[in-house]
């Protein structure tokens, strides 16, 4: 009887650990995000002070100078005309490795904004020091606003 209980206990423990292993081992690579839908949702759902507007690929290349266009499968960016540092950027790479490189380019963009606005309009800098920047599988999601909680709530809808 004792041996039976021991066996059952050991099996339960092993099974529970295996279940935990698979549950925690989430697969971001399986996520599929409509880049434009997410960007549009962020624009409409997050409170922005500025009238940020969607820009085309040429405009994105102008702003994201370190972004290698060959890495990007799809992208959507909302940017300010210069009045603020509020911005939305959603990028799709071919794979997670590409997403990491895109993330680096986005970080460079953020730093460039910090450097540029530090003298030009310092009030625009604080949000850049606490911005939402996520990588989910092959996607990079960036949102600079004063309402990170709103942005994260929107992003969560597309990444779950």
């Amino acid at each position: 009887m004792k041996k039976w209980f021991k066996k059952i206990g050991a099996m339960l423990l092993a099974g529970a650990m295996a279940a935990l292993l698979f549950a925690g081992c989430s697969s971001d690579a399986d996520v599929t995000i409509d880049v434009n839908a997410l960007a549009d949702d962020l624009r409409s759902s997050v409170t922005f002070n500025d009238d940020i507007t969607k820009i085309d690929d040429a405009g994105i290349a102008m702003l994201y100078k370190d972004l290698d266009a060959d890495l990007v499968v799809n992208q959507a960016v909302y940017a300010s005309s210069g009045a603020s540092t509020e911005e939305i950027g959603v990028f799709e790479a071919a794979d997670a490795a590409g997403a990491e490189q895109i993330k680096t380019a986005v970080e460079a963009r953020i730093q460039s904004q910090i450097d540029g606005y530090s003298d030009y309009d310092p009030d625009q800098v604080p949000r850049l020091n606490d911005t939402v920047l996520q990588t989910v599988g092959k996607y990079v999601i960036f949102c600079a606003s004063d309402h990170n909680d709103q942005a994260e709530a929107v992003i969560e809808k597309y990444t779950k």
Partner: protein
């Protein structure tokens, strides 16, 4: 008679196997936790996902200075001839049909440019006209490029905070592995047109003559490196009435108008063409409409489009 040991043995409570109890308890706890985690993910098998959430940016970003992008433009273009006749009414319109406070009536013939006066209205051109042009400006020019799509056609050296002195002194243009000044960047390619709009960041300078002097240096530098290029000096766009009233850093419409008068005189002196770009976005009271801007200075998409339309309808043959 049974001895005490026997009686004790009979009534002694059996020893518990604490190891087994602990093992089972831990196993049950693990099962419960695993069940909770699985329930939270709420996904079928093989489709669980999670976000690698990080707020904030890393501190080891290598980019340490703001830079200006460079777009290429390699083709000349001919102006598009309009078949309708009309005359300039000192107005501007939008290319996407959006109704604005001003509308341009197309013209079919070029009028002779008179030095000391703004470039008159001309037959409209399309965006291809700017393929051999370069734009030098501040954040407002940056907005023009972003919001009108013009960056796909032309080259722009535009940066927030760019001033007439920084054109020569501050490395802002990224070219390969190097970062060079706007002046140096201008010398690395050939352009047939150069559009300049600077001044909003210099309104707070105590002496406007310093501004004009540096501006003249820019015109001369362009003439030196591009002797055949048409140089367009764009008037400084107005700010909104509320922005003007605040008068921060010398930014007010009265000062802008004064600077524009000086730019008109400078154009006459240097042979550059003066574009009264401000007229494309001014309201009836001479200010930038409040609806055109979120901060009183930078234009929204509609008004950037009006600005571009003005440029397309005011060229020198």
């Amino acid at each position: 008679m049974k001895n005490k040991a026997t009686r004790y043995r009979r009534y002694r409570k059996p020893k518990r196997n604490y190891k087994l109890i602990i093992l089972v308890t831990v196993a049950v706890v693990f099962v419960i936790i695993a069940a909770i985690v699985l329930l939270m993910t709420l996904k079928p098998w093989g489709q669980t996902s999670g976000a690698n959430v990080s707020s904030g940016i890393t501190s080891d970003v290598s980019e340490s200075s703001s830079t200006i992008s460079q777009n290429t433009a390699s083709q000349n273009s001919q102006p598009v001839q309009s078949s309708s006749s009309g005359q300039e009414q000192n107005t501007a319109g939008t290319s996407d049909g959006t109704t604005s406070s001003t509308q341009l009536e197309p013209v079919t013939e070029y009028q002779e440019y008179v030095s000391g006066k703004p470039v008159p209205q001309s037959p409209p051109v399309d965006s291809n006209y700017f393929k051999d042009a370069v734009f030098v400006g501040d954040s407002r020019t940056e907005g023009l490029m972003l919001y009108t799509g013009l960056s796909a056609y032309t080259t722009a050296y535009a940066d927030k905070g760019l001033t007439v002195s920084k054109v020569f002194s501050e490395p802002l243009v990224k070219q390969g592995d190097k970062t060079v000044t706007v002046d140096e960047a201008l010398r690395t390619a050939q352009y047939n047109k150069c559009y300049i709009m600077l001044g909003i960041n210099e309104l707070g300078w105590p002496n406007e003559n310093v501004f004009i002097s540096h501006y003249e240096d820019i015109i001369n530098a362009v003439k030196e490196s591009h002797p055949d290029a048409k140089i367009y000096v764009q008037s400084i766009l107005p700010v909104s009435a509320s922005k003007s009233e605040k008068n921060q850093n010398g930014i007010n419409n009265e000062r802008i108008n004064k600077y524009n008068q000086l730019l008109l005189e400078l154009s006459e002196k240097t042979g550059a063409y003066y574009l009264d770009t401000a007229a494309s976005v001014k309201g009836e009271d001479g200010t930038l409409p409040e609806s055109a801007t979120s901060d009183g200075i930078h234009l929204n998409k509609q008004f950037c489009t009006q600005w571009l339309d003005y440029l397309k309808n005011h060229t020198v043959q």
